[in-house]
Structures are given as C-alpha cells and as structure tokens.
C-alpha cells in the first residue's frame, strides 16, 4: 500500500514536471513569436545562476582535476604511462566529471534558490497577483529561469573543464614531474571534440532538469516557512537523483551515437 502510494506520487510528480516543461517550451515559442521575449529577464537569471556559481564551480573543478592527477599520476608513472595522464584526466573531466559535478553544485545552489523564491511567492500570494494581472506564471517566472539555467550550465561546464585541466596540470608538473608540453600533448592526442560535446549536451539537459524541478517544487509549496524549507530541500535532493539517473541513459545514448556515427 505504501509502495503503491509512493509510486503513484512519483508518477504524478513526473507527469506534472513534464507538463511544466512543455508549458515552458510553449511560452518560449509564444514569447518569440509575439516579440515579447524579455532579454533583460533572461540576462538577470543568467547572471544570478552563472556568475554567482562561478567561485564554487571553480573550486570544485580545480580540486577535481588536481585530485584526479594525484590518484592516477603515480600509478601511471609506475607503469611508464605518464604520457597518458593528461589525456585520461581530460577525458574523465569532459565526459563525466565536469557536467556531473557542475550540475550538482548548481542544483545545490541554484535549484534550491529557485524553489525558495517561487515557493515564497506562492505562499505570499504573489503568484496569484501575477495571474490577476493577466500574466502567466510559467511565462514570467519559469521561462527565464529555464533558459538561464540551461545556457549557464553549458557555459559553466566549459569553465569547469578548463579549470580542472589547470588544476590537473599544476599537480602533474610540480608533483608528478611531467612537463607542460607532455601533459598538453596527451590531452590533444586523446581528447576528441565529441567527448567535449557529449559532456556539454549532458550539462545542458541537467540545467533544464534543475530549473524545471526547482520551479515545480516552488509552485507546489504549501503552508508557511516550513513548506518553503521542505520544497527547497526536496528540489535539491530530487534534482541530484534525477541528474544521476538521467546521466546513465545519456551516457549510453551518447556512446551509442558516437560508436554508430563518429568512429
């Protein structure tokens, strides 16, 4: 009985989130058609989502790149495979670590903020006020957050890749004893454009997931401050779980695509 209720609730939530996603696409097209797309709103969100996450993403990327080189550098050196260190680190970063870690950082920072902001608007009747002024809340609130999050996760992931490589290269040169040229050559030799693109496609989809879940949790907030707190926590937990689950299927899909068309 309990499991049935959980499954029912899960299906209902997934259905509602899908509807919210479709409404977001509809209102985006509508705004573009009517020339009402607010670039200012979009840039505001991009700034809040991207610029404000920059430091955390930089620390995460740098640390991951550095630790990765520490972990594999000595092992590879023992086997005489130092020339692969840069390539392996860049592949791991580009394909998996950069998109996943960036998404988790953004989910924690931005997904929670979106849920808290919209949740507070819901319980203080600001969403109702929007509607009474003939303004659709999805159009006004979700569309700029959705595109802001999607675009910025793409860009932040590029940034994480670069910072991760910088962190990795510093450890490789000063601790493992590789030269900068060897590290760079290894990256250029092993890392392909499709590896980077695969990671960026994932990041873009993770951005969409974070925005939709954050907005959905905000819109379904009930009660007072406690309700906002629950929505905020839930937005982060559900976003991270969803990102990890979707990542598996995206990885399989991207690998199959690369195997079929690019190799």
């Amino acid at each position: 009985m309990i499991l049935t209720n959980i499954a029912k609730g899960l299906i209902e939530s997934l259905g509602s989130m899908t509807i919210l996603f479709l409404q977001t696409i509809y209102w985006t097209l509508n705004a573009l058609r009517g020339g009402r797309f607010s670039a200012k709103n979009l840039f505001d969100q991009m700034s809040r989502i991207g610029v404000d996450s920059l430091l955390m993403v930089a620390i995460t990327g740098f640390s991951t790149g550095a630790v990765l080189v520490v972990q594999i550098g000595y092992q590879f050196a023992q086997m005489g495979a130092q020339s692969y260190v840069g390539g392996v680190v860049s592949l791991a970063m580009a394909r998996e670590l950069a998109p996943i870690l960036t998404a988790i950082v953004v989910a924690g920072r931005v997904g929670s903020a979106i849920a808290a902001e919209i949740g507070t608007m819901k319980i203080t009747e600001q969403i109702d006020a929007l509607e009474t002024m003939a303004t659709n809340p999805v159009d006004y609130l979700v569309v700029p957050r959705f595109w802001g999050c999607t675009i910025m996760l793409f860009m932040l992931t590029i940034f994480t890749n670069v910072i991760g490589m910088i962190g990795g290269s510093i450890v490789a040169i000063y601790q493992i004893g590789l030269t900068m040229v060897a590290f760079k050559d290894s990256i250029l030799h092993m890392l392909l454009v499709q590896d980077l693109m695969g990671g960026l496609i994932k990041a873009t989809i993770f951005g969409a997931i974070i925005a939709i879940i954050g907005c959905y949790k905000g819109f379904t907030t009930e009660g007072g401050a406690e309700g906002v707190g629950e929505s905020t926590t839930s937005a982060v937990v559900v976003s991270i779980m969803m990102i990890l689950a979707v990542n598996y299927f995206l990885t399989v899909g991207i690998n199959n695509f690369n195997t079929a068309y690019l190799q």
Partner: protein
C-alpha cells in the same frame, strides 16, 4: 453586473462554498462579512477566475467566466484589479516596478508615460515619492496602499479587496476606507470587499452580505443588516462568542 449563481467549492473533505448566490450591481460597493476561515477569500478568487467552482456559475456582464479559456480570462482580468490581504507585492521589484507591472506588460506606453501614471497613482494612495523603495522598506499600511495603487494602475472597472484593513491601525484603516470611497467616486468602480472589520464595512458599503457556513445568510443595506432579526447576523455584529455561529 456580477452574478454568482449557486457556486459550490470543496477542498478535500471540506465543503467551503455550498451554493452561493449573489448579485453585485455596476458601481456598487458590496462588502462580504464573515468569520475568519469561512471561505470569503475563496469566493473572491472565484470572481477573478483564480479558482473554478465545482459547480455553479460566475457571470460578469452576462458571460460565464468559469467556462473561459486563458485568453478570455486574461482579457477580463485587464478590466479588474485585486488588492490582496498581504498586499502580495513582488519582493524583487521596487514600488514603481510593482505599480507599473500591468502597464509594462499590457500597454505600449512609453517609460515616461508609465512613470507619470505610477506617480499619479502613488499620490492618490498618499505615497508620493516612494517610487524607488523596495517592498521590504515599507510598513504594513504602506504595502497595502502600494498594493492598491497597483490594483488601480490599469484603471479597472471592478476592484476586489481581500481584507484591505486587516492588521492596520485605526487611522490607517480609516485612510484606506477613504481611499476606497474616493476611488469609487472618481473612477465609478464596482467593488467587492471581503472583511471581518465591521467599522470599515459600515463606512464603505452600499450593501453588506454575511457569509457563514458556506452560504450567504443575509444581505442588505447597512441599516437592514444592523436591524436584521437573524440571530447569526446579530451574533456577528455584536461580536458574541456564544450563539448559533460556531467558531471554526
């Protein structure tokens, strides 16, 4: 004219509206009185289409708005304004942006013209020069007045007031009431006021309806209500804890 006809609304196991019938004439100020939690705000939200009834009709100028799609509902809402209980100002926007919200979204007026209208409305509600304050810098009474300025910015034909004086001191209450009356006089708007503040209700009403138990138990002019033999009405206006009206 607004006609609310046999409107029912249920939330879970709780039947909030049990066949409400009301007529609000053009230019009239109807006050809906009732104890806290009886569903007055729910009724108001039906009039502006924020909620749809389980059954019944809400007719505005002869058209049943419960059957309206989003576009028609939005067109109708452009003719209406609503003052929320908590004012519901947008936290992230300053006073000017809040009051100008509808004008910016639904008109092609220049920034200068919008600024002029906003300043005029702020002056009407007694808050000149507050254009660039944030909602967090305003007192409760100021927030309500900014909410009212926002509600009248598009010069609506119908204004809905959800507990406009709750939580305000007597002087501010009186100021809001006077504002209400002057708007009625100057703009000729139809108003529906939901409140449990009797003094305020007597000041602004043309007619009063008492909402209790999901129904309108009495409706009439101020004198008719005061002299009503209905024990529920008498208990409410005397503010007695014991009687046929039970506490929720």
């Amino acid at each position: 004219m607004i006609i609310i006809s046999n409107v029912h609304k249920r939330f879970g196991s709780k039947q909030v509206l049990k066949g409400i019938n009301l007529k609000i004439y053009d230019g009239e100020s109807l006050v809906i009185l009732g104890p806290s939690g009886c569903g007055k705000s729910v009724l108001l939200k039906h009039v502006i289409g924020l909620m749809r009834p389980d059954s019944g009709q809400v007719l505005i100028d002869g058209e049943d708005i419960t059957t309206f799609g989003q576009k028609r509902l939005d067109a109708l809402r452009m003719r209406m304004g609503m003052l929320f209980q908590s004012a519901a100002l947008f936290d992230s926007l300053n006073v000017e942006e809040n009051v100008a919200f509808g004008l910016r979204r639904h008109t092609n007026l220049s920034d200068r013209a919008i600024h002029h209208i906003v300043s005029e409305k702020l002056e009407m509600v007694g808050l000149p020069g507050t254009n660039y304050l944030m909602p967090s810098e305003l007192s409760g009474g100021m927030r309500k007045r900014v909410g009212l300025a926002r509600a009248i910015a598009m010069e609506p034909e119908i204004i809905l007031y959800d507990e406009p004086t709750t939580g305000l001191d007597p002087i501010m209450t009186s100021a809001i009431d006077e504002l209400h009356l002057s708007l009625k006089e100057r703009l000729g708007v139809t108003s529906i006021v939901v409140t449990h503040d009797l003094k305020s209700a007597y000041r602004v009403c043309d007619r009063i309806a008492l909402h209790y138990g999901g129904q309108i138990v009495e409706i009439g002019t101020r004198e008719e209500i005061i002299n009503s033999p209905n024990p529920v009405v008498q208990q409410f206006i005397r503010g007695e804890a014991h009687g046929p009206m039970t506490l929720v």
